[in-house]
Symmetry: C2
Subunit: 468 residues, 2 copies
């Protein structure tokens, strides 16, 4: 019943953009299955990749990412929140995930809804479901977070992750927004977790169990129970994930909120402000400066208790490909490259690039066995961290030269010192940045992915590959 | 005489790396000419490109750069100044230009010399000359600046640009370094300008006349006169450049030092520090902040009096291709993308990306007429500017959120506001950054330029294309 409901929504919403008229490069009319695996490194720009590469495999080393057959760039597009808005030059993960999921450019904070209205926009996952493909979403964030949500839910404001917060999303008593008009009692489709619980997804793995604990609107059941009623088996540990009935619809909720990251700074250290001497306050060319102490990265203790991104990707691939003659669409997100960068945790981001790189090797292994598999790897937007010189280019000048922001100096396994700077703002969370971002494809992308794309083309390339 | 001297130096220095053993993809045995045009945007990373694109053609527009057939990435490699040094994670333009010119990884500040020694390393231009190709260098910097110098000179320290400074390079009475051991009176090869004057280059166009004014070591002639004795016609204005004898060796010196840039901030404004209110000094969550006023970019008055990069590129292409059955190697640099970014001048950098983009259209036009032309476009290293949100991602919080560095807010022709942040240090010049950088190629690069390269491969790809 819920599947057919979803499909009827599709048929209405599809009309807002012209799928039918466009030329298809690919056809799904033949019998063999086709697969798209879209891997998103949240905030994974060239700084994040270079910082991670330097640490993980050395300055002259290669990640699996670096060995992809094709490299392109993705032009990130964001608009003001009105139907004919001016461009906004820096995105958030909600509008960019919407663009990748739907091919439509929207405004910051929106989940698969149009700018200036709350009109739902059909997603690649919904189109694939309607055409008989299986669909899956894997993320190290809460599955209700912006990137995963935009592939299977529709709402005006990304923070409306569960029914309890719909009337008032606040942070430390500051009202941030709400989704009152989209509550079920007002004829809306409800919060993100409710929409996911009622979705036709086959696999949904990540964090965010706290968003499935509240009571669903108009029901006495929790959102988790709603998902179970909708046919999901729910797993919460690595053991349960591995013991799950293969091929059955699966919801994995492995942590309360964002999943623990793999690496952290020594004793949990973040980037820190350099400390100029008193004399330096008299004049910036006087005195001296104490730079943050050099540190190592270390394993984050919480990480071991939850599945890795690769373990989740492997499980998703097994479920989606089991006795499947049609194929699937799978989105895999390494979410905390971005989240750790907001917190000025370079070691955290490094470990999450490593997680993405490992999940990519699983995807590449799958594609070797299943050649009609298009793998796309990209970022949604660029991020705050900058790799700056540990020894300033101006070190010969007898004055203190230092970052005005926060700095981490990391000892790399190859014996270098890597300085990572965070200086986009004075807040407790860094800003995103606005550069175009890398896009990689496996050899199935050759001839399908040009050297330069606009972010909406990630949708059209995926759609065309699946013949949707 | 000077040409044969140069060639004999080559034969000695070639032995330090193994050209002979490597497989050549291309052969120069056939009769038709081959050409390599290497275009370097100094500091032109994805932030610089995106900032320039947003301003010049709009957020969803395309530069000529974006329409190149192939996009790759270049892994930047730098070492400590010793023969077996550890990696250094942020480069300068001297070591990266050396790497592109020679295929050898070296230390910051070096011009085509080996780390830990002053041993000269043969350059692609010298190899091409020895094989009968013409060679040219065009830059908006002084022709003695690091990037152009590294293709045709050899010295331990990039600031040794003319004979007068060899014993003591200083800035405001601060001794920065010297090249005493490399003075001709000590058996060395002299300063950069002297080496260029004595080089076998066919075309050398840019700024830096002040480095050709001093008396050459061991001579009563100026360095400019030394160049004239070596067969160069010297031109100093657009009119002289256009009237120059076609096909004759040409040295163009169009300004004292770096050439004037095309654009500047309104009334010459740079990025400026946001100004928090007094209360904000009590606690960062109190008070408010005055952001720098929004500004337009405007033409830089000095620019009109000198040739554009495109005019210089056109002249170089005409000279190098005139009655030339062999082919040529030409390096074209837009130098002040970097220099303006050091000075926190986003409009300046934007105009210099535009200059590069125009010179690229000249190269593409040439390649259409001369299909055996490989065009590579890349940056030498990434740079300080970051495109950050004009409206913070955290604007809903009732506290002042602002950059700890310097910020410019630019009104774009399409009506948006673009915020460019400079915050790598507190000095009067920003630092470089350490991310891998874009590499573009025309269709001659397909099958020759992989999706990921190490920066030394820019040398080997060029060398192989010319069959050297």
């Amino acid at each position: 019943m819920l599947r057919s409901l979803t499909i009827s929504i599709l048929l209405i919403t599809t009309s807002i953009f012209s799928v039918a008229e466009e030329t298809k490069q690919d056809s799904s009319s033949d019998a063999k299955p086709r697969h798209v695996i879209l891997i998103i490194g949240d905030g994974m720009d060239d700084h994040q990749i270079t910082i991670a590469r330097n640490y993980l495999v050395g300055a002259s080393g290669h990640l699996a990412l670096d060995q992809m057959a094709l490299r392109s760039t993705s032009q990130i597009l964001t608009t003001e929140d009105k139907s004919d808005g001016k461009p906004v030059y820096v995105a958030d993960s909600a509008n960019t995930a919407t663009t990748m999921a739907t091919g439509v450019i929207t405004s910051r904070g929106r989940i698969a809804t149009a700018p200036g209205s709350n009109k739902a926009i059909v997603t690649i996952a919904e189109l694939a479901q309607a055409a008989g493909y299986r669909t899956g979403i894997v993320s190290t964030a809460s599955v209700t977070d912006a990137t995963p949500a935009a592939f299977a839910a529709h709402i005006s404001f990304r923070m409306c992750e569960n029914p309890d917060v719909m009337p008032d999303v606040s942070y430390k008593d500051i009202h941030i927004g709400d989704c009152i008009d989209e509550m079920k009692t007002h004829g809306g489709t409800g919060s993100i977790s409710e929409q996911l619980a009622e979705s036709a997804l086959d696999v949904l793995l990540g964090g965010g169990s706290k968003h499935f604990a509240p009571t669903a609107e108009g029901s006495s059941d929790s959102v988790r129970q709603l998902a179970e009623s909708n046919g999901f088996q729910v797993v919460t540990t690595v053991a349960e994930l591995q013991a799950a009935e293969i091929g059955r619809r699966t919801l994995g909720l492995f942590s309360e909120s964002t999943m623990p990251v793999r690496l952290r700074g020594e004793n949990g250290r973040a980037a820190e402000a350099p400390e100029p001497s008193l004399l330096n306050y008299v004049h910036q060319y006087l005195g001296d400066v104490t730079q943050p102490e050099i540190m190592n990265c270390e394993p984050n203790p919480g990480f071991a208790s939850t599945p890795s991104l690769k373990q989740m990707a492997d499980a998703a691939l097994a479920h989606l490909s089991h006795e499947n003659e049609r194929g699937f669409f799978l989105m895999i997100e390494s979410a905390s490259i971005d989240k750790e960068s907001h917190k000025r945790h370079p070691c955290g981001s490094i470990g999450e690039v490593e997680q993405l790189n490992e999940a990519l090797t699983s995807a590449l292994d799958f594609a070797r066995e299943n050649p009609r598999t298009l793998i796309l790897v990209t970022a949604d937007h660029s991020q705050a961290a900058q790799l700056i010189p540990n020894e300033s280019l101006f070190a010969e000048f007898p004055i203190p030269v230092y970052s005005p922001g926060k700095l981490a100096r990391i000892r790399t396994p190859e014996g270098g010192i890597m300085a990572v700077n965070y200086a986009t703002n004075n807040f407790f969370m860094e800003e995103h940045t606005g550069a175009n971002v890398p896009l990689f494809a496996n050899d199935e992308g050759l001839g399908r992915v040009p050297a330069f794309i606009q972010q909406p083309q990630i949708f059209t390339i995926s759609r065309d590959y699946l013949g949707l």
